[in-house]
Symmetry: C2
Subunit: 321 residues, 2 copies
């Protein structure tokens, strides 16, 4: 592994000003934050007169397609590789083999960041990595921000904070979102698409979740397992954010959604009060304190549920005593 050097945001800005031909990597199964960072930073560097392009192991989600407007397609051989919102090289997915040990600068906001790049800038007080990218772009020499870039960065901040609802939201988060709105994109229309609009398939999936959810640990825990068959019956988009549903039920302290994948049952844990990062650590996973994930090797849904319920119950029981 590289010996990572921690740098300041000013040094990160100088890195971009002093170099050229950037490849920007976002994490696998990309969300609004990693894509917002990648498209926003790429667009800003292009406006600065630099060459910049993007790579991700998975395609851009349809609902973020507007981000493409912030950048132009450029073809060139990269000289420098940058990762955004990537907490661990393994999260590069299929791109890890190619770039895992070739990242020149990693910019991230995960407290669980495991250094893999030559230079690293991590600010875990940022609710979204897009907050950092916004500050970074302001440090670049020229005015590189426009409406399209602002929309990318706002997307990352809004999606990572549940539209300013979650505990990671700070005064700075609000301040930056407000400043980004001034660039003139229609934030209300964007928020409707990001947070309110549901497809009929999505509504069907939510019904399935609430019809089949299981409560445990004196109703402080709630778990639902989604089989491959169920997941395949809807678009990937429709599954987005489904992990938040069990925790929304009054009284539930830990909500768990299990999804059947090739490699096992992918668990997403959400809590209002419990350190779910620690629970996921038992299964080799990680994430944030109130939102974390792991993969559970199990013969079937019943076994996967049993294993995760055991660990959650231990922690919730401590909470009850």
């Amino acid at each position: 592994m590289n010996k990572a050097t921690n740098i300041t945001l000013k040094q990160a800005a100088e890195f971009f000003i002093g170099h050229d031909n950037f490849l920007i990597l976002s994490h696998a199964n990309p969300d609004g934050d990693t894509e917002g960072c990648a498209y926003g930073l790429c667009g800003a560097l292009q406006r600065l007169g630099k060459k910049a392009r993007l790579a991700c192991s998975d395609p851009l989600s349809e609902r973020f397609s507007y981000m493409k407007e912030a950048v132009e397609k450029q073809q060139f051989d990269e000289s420098f590789v940058v990762s955004v919102d990537v907490a661990d090289r393994s999260l590069l997915g299929d791109l890890e083999k190619l770039y895992g040990d070739k990242v020149d600068l990693a910019i991230d906001h995960h407290i669980s960041h495991r250094p893999f790049a030559e230079r690293v800038y991590v600010d875990d007080s940022a609710a979204a990595a897009c907050e950092i990218i916004y500050d970074l772009i302001k440090l670049l020499e020229a005015e590189c921000l426009d409406e399209k870039i602002a929309k990318c960065l706002y997307t990352g901040i809004a999606t990572d904070t549940g539209c300013f609802k979650f505990g990671n939201t700070t005064r700075h988060t609000h301040l930056k979102a407000g400043e980004l709105m001034e660039y003139g994109f229609d934030a209300a229309a964007l928020n409707y698409v990001l947070f309110d609009m549901k497809t009929k398939a999505r509504i069907g999936l939510e019904r399935y979740v609430f019809e089949n959810i299981e409560f445990f640990a004196e109703d402080k825990g709630a778990v639902i397992a989604l089989s491959k068959e169920i997941l395949d019956s809807v678009d990937a988009e429709d599954v987005n954010g489904i992990s938040a549903l069990p925790r929304q039920i009054q009284g539930v302290e830990v909500g768990i959604v299990l999804k059947e994948k090739e490699e096992g049952w992918k668990a997403s844990l959400r809590s209002n009060s419990v350190n779910v990062q620690e629970i996921c650590g038992h299964f080799g996973g990680g994430g944030h304190i109130r939102a974390a994930g792991c993969t559970i090797k199990a013969a079937d849904a019943e076994e996967a549920k049993r294993l995760i319920k055991e660990e959650v119950t231990k922690v919730v029981e401590k909470l009850l005593n």
Copy 2:
């Protein structure tokens, strides 16, 4: 009617500094904004050493009960009457008779404000009246803001903007919300209760809505009728915001929720594109352009649905052509 004098916010602050014994009125069927204003302002005036108390035609909703912590109960004969977030004297409800022509100062943010007070301060660029009250409190002589007051004011801002999602949200809205958060209340826990938490009864009601919703006008319209029996099976709180659900379905331009009441079927219309105020006007109702309501006299749910679908179809067909 009084001849209302428009005053500045500074003059409003001077009004409070120079007088004493205030009665603060909020509007009937109170929401988070009018209550946040009333409790926040009352608490601040009390910290300034003034006597202040509250009145509203309806009780404080259970979910805002924490606001009571911001004020102490004081008994006195009022010398001055102030209304907050009240767009028209008729919206004082049962208190109109007593105070409708006795309001010394009205503070409001509705563009539709119809002056009824002696002095009036209206800023329709404010997403919530709580934004104004926050600025006003900052103009008072002493530091009158604390965690409990900040929580009241944040509540008004968050609820009136759908947690910063709606088009009324501005840079100033974000800025003020961020500043208020600094007073230290747990915004995430508050937002969870205000926006995310669902009782099991609420989840059952949502399932009922989505199982029984009817689409019409080439799926651009969606309607659900909730009988008295269904409505009585849940708490009033659980029905809160249910009117927004049909419109959330992708492709639906007009969403309609019908509720069976003594006086007929109460229709709530929501749209992203259509003037539903006009549609509701046909039935003697009104409201905002994208959110309006009316009462439909009909023998049963089927007739009520038929009548409203007819009017909506006419308008939606125009949209399709």
